[in-house]
Amino acid sequence: MKRELFALTIVFLIFVAFPAALFGYQAQRTTTTGARVIALTANAPANGGWQPDAIRVNVGERVRLRIAAPDVVHGFAIPALDIYVDEILPGHVEEIEFVAARAGRYPFACTRWCSVDHWRMRGVIEVIDPGNPDPPLPTIAPPLYQQMNIDIDAPHPAQNVPAQRPSAARGARLDVSVPGDLRAQSPSNVFAELRGDPALKAYSDGQLWDVVAFAWKRASGDPASPGADSALARGSKLFVRDCAACHGETGKGNGPAGRNLPGLAAMQTDSRMAHGAYAKRGPADFTDAAQMLGASDVLLQGKVLRGGMGTGMPEWRTLYSDQDMWDLIGFIRSFVFDYGMSNAK
């Protein structure tokens, strides 16, 4: 009888008391921290990606994410909430706490190149207002390339190509101003306009290209603050984080992840993908002046935010703010224009 009671006690401890204590402790910890604790696991996409990849929280709720990465090094970012965790090491748990002040959908993504399918590793945090759980969708203006009716898949060869790399520094010393909004025009067209201006007959082609380079550098950001947080520096950071794996550190389109893109062979042989100059290529070469100078910033923006539609180029509209986008495009120009930066490393 006594032994039976002893056995029953052990069974009770294992099946009731221990789980109750465990869950009770967790519940108590949650209430005392005042935050809702959500466990988030970062797996490479081949192993399931983010788990969970959709998180629902209420407006104003304090949320604590505990992020673990069991397989490889991952990163975590909710760009719209300005939350970044640069490194989640296997074996560590990274904690971040935030309060989502406004209802909405906030995409999050991995920011480290964790596998060939890294770019698929995305998820979304839905912040819901309990009083108004199903608000009408906000109206978002269509992207500029749609407003301006630009076909971003059409070839865009430059009509004019400089003989040498245009230098913004040399252009700054020439007293030529370039009028108008540069974003909608290609550098090649701006050059053609300057060349056609009789008042500028005295300048050589090379000098006018320098002027164009300087105009683009000035338009791409804040020439007054060329420091570490300039627009170009921010663009450079984004490029290294998100683009360099395929497009290469030097922008030549030869990055390691781009060499074995899934479907690259099909891209190069499928006639439906052949679109003039775009046939038979993988990641774009940003140092190719004949292509890059024929594209306006708006066209490039369209390509980046929509993505490559089956070419392996992801869409960035959900992750990039407008500012991010222009910073990045400003930086991408520096592969053709010499901005005096040391990006070719």
Partner: protein, 150 residues
């Protein structure tokens, strides 16, 4: 075998071992050069997995990762690199220690990460030659020492 012969065998063996350990070996190796080595890393191997260099060389290792974040740590040289696709890493060092050194991935890169190992041979590998000679001499000495004449 009498006592005197045993002492002679021990003394001779010890002498030969000392000679093998400390005799300067003439090197006909070429003058130290500057080398640049390209190493690519992927799950779960280095390519090339064996690096052959000469002692005194100034070595620059470029590490390029093809899939995920990888590292390269050379035992004995404390060279530590970390690379990702799109983010190459490089380090320069002078190979002043001869021998065979393992290098391994230093960033947890997946299930077989602990087995992602390569080796660097810094030639000429005199410690290995000396160790071999010492072993041979000691073996021969022991055989002579314990030899029993019928």
């Amino acid at each position: 075998m009498n006592q005197t012969r045993r002492v002679i065998v021990i003394a001779l063996t010890a002498l030969l071992i000392l000679v093998a350990l400390f005799i300067p070996i003439p090197t006909n190796a070429s003058a130290p050069q500057t080398r640049t080595l390209e190493v690519t890393a992927r799950q779960f191997a280095f390519e090339p997995a064996t690096l052959d260099i000469q002692r005194g060389d100034t070595v620059t290792i470029h590490l390029e990762s093809l899939d995920a974040a990888h590292g390269l740590y050379i035992d004995g040289y404390a060279v530590d690199l970390a690379a990702e696709p799109g983010k190459r890493a490089q380090a320069t060092f002078v190979a002043d220690k001869e021998g065979k050194f393992k290098f391994r991935c230093s960033v947890a890169c997946g299930a077989l990460h602990p087995f992602m190992i390569g080796e660097m041979n810094v030639q000429p590998n005199f410690p290995f030659v000396r160790a071999t000679a010492v072993t041979l001499i000691a073996t021969i000495g022991a055989v002579v020492f314990f030899w029993r004449e019928e």
